[in-house]
Symmetry: C2
């Protein structure tokens, strides 16, 4: 099941063609997106997603997104979605057909993939892959769009295929100096003692909406939270390593590069319940 | 004017919608392309473009392109294009709608942009921008897709906007060690004495179809050709610096980072005529 709503409020048939072949989102990956989790008919962290959409738009020199129109389009999609079924709502915003100056903008509600549901329950086996950049390049070279959630995700997809080839489910990208960055579609969070840690956005990673929510909740529950560079040694020494994102929520990593991590299912349940209690 | 032909030979209306919103080429920049120059009704370097399309497809784990079908689709587009008008034919090949397993594949013939025609004649002012990678990372990390011509071109487009902000026309990307890579949509070639030089593909750049043609022609005319790493000092010491690509042909660089290069219009004319004599 899928529900498609354009930014002007029109509901479209998701199986039909709506995009021109010269849309720059298609020809150049020139656009941005967000993926919002919806549970019981309620979008989670919608404000943070809209903030990040605006920030990505600025990095790509796209027109400022009309926040209320996006909110309304998400609402319209959810009116057409059965509230008892969880869904992921993609917000997609491209530069539009070449030369038109008119962005393409739509919202697409989709079911959560079975694979994601299984991984939420069972955790993920992860491989580490080099991302090629130094951790300091993002601030110096904004044209690399490292903090923008652009549609140019071919590398992220290729990394996930590489993980599959290595019999793993997901990836943690490492910077050129070996420091920990992020997953192709998730944020890395570790817990050690009473502290949650995640790498800073200035290393060229996407600021995580789910990570931000989780950190808020954890602080309220008495945890310390730190946004600071992480190394592979930090991951190995952690009580639990998590990949967090809208659709996967708070998923634990069960192995890294074939090496099993200690069973942390109790701690994982505790953090997941902190996350769930936010909503 | 535009002519659109799908890989099955169907001619479509380029102003109409043909692509679904869940096409992975759109949602993930997950696909590849080529741009072929057509002069007097004849596509230039079509075999090299089809070779590179196959090589890009392999890097992205896309089904092997049907070479004859692509050739035929290009032919069909050109039957519908007035031979006296130069055009650029894009070959676009995506992973298709999510979960469908059916790639999207089409050919789009378009006019050459006025800007490109002006730059062919007047040359381009170039800025150098950091690309973030070391020159050795491409071979080690194939998931970075550095030698593939993928649809994930948001960074290339952002770099061109950065050039514009700096009152320049184009970009030469530099590796993390300062070595010369390529333009966002072109290959860097320099001439010094009787030798043409260009950086090797193993530095993570796209093997240039136009550069390959030019080198063939230059060798036949008595030039030496070298594929080897280039530094900024090499560019400063060159008799002429060129950006070469299908649509821009052999375009000379008139300044780098605001510093004018010596007038090399005679040498440029000579190399352009070697290139033109190939066809």
């Amino acid at each position: 099941m899928r529900v498609l709503v354009f930014l002007d409020g029109t509901v479209g048939d998701p199986e039909a063609a709506h995009i021109r072949v010269d849309d720059l989102g298609l020809l150049r990956g020139d656009g941005i997106f967000e993926t919002v989790l919806v549970v019981d008919g309620k979008p989670r962290e919608l404000d943070r997603h809209l903030d990040r959409l605006a920030s990505s738009a600025a990095k790509l020199d796209l027109p400022v997104p009309d926040r209320e129109a996006w909110r309304q389009a998400v609402h319209t999609a959810l009116v057409n979605w059965p509230a008892e079924r969880e869904c992921a709502v993609k917000l997609v915003y491209t530069r539009g057909p070449e030369g038109s100056g008119e962005p393409t903008a739509f919202v697409l509600a989709q079911e959560i993939a079975d694979k994601v549901l299984r991984q939420r329950a069972a955790g993920v086996a992860v491989v580490t892959l080099e991302r090629g950049f130094g951790p300091e390049v993002a601030e110096r070279a904004p044209w690399l769009l490292l903090g923008a959630k652009s549609l140019s995700y071919a590398v992220n997809m290729a990394a996930l295929r590489e993980a599959e080839r290595r019999d793993a489910d997901d990836v943690i990208f490492l910077a050129a100096d070996g420091s920990v960055l992020e997953g192709p579609t998730s944020t890395v969070v570790i817990a050690q003692g009473e502290t949650l840690r995640t790498p800073p956005a200035r290393t060229g990673i996407l600021p995580g909406t789910t990570q931000a929510g989780l950190f808020d909740g954890a602080e309220s529950s008495g945890w310390s939270v730190k946004v600071e560079p992480l190394t592979m040694d930090d991951l190995r020494a952690a009580d639990v390593v998590l990949l967090v994102s809208s659709v996967r929520k708070v998923t634990r990593v069960v192995s890294i590069d074939g090496e099993a991590l200690p069973d942390a299912s109790g701690l994982h349940r505790q953090l997941l319940s902190i996350y769930e209690s936010l909503y």
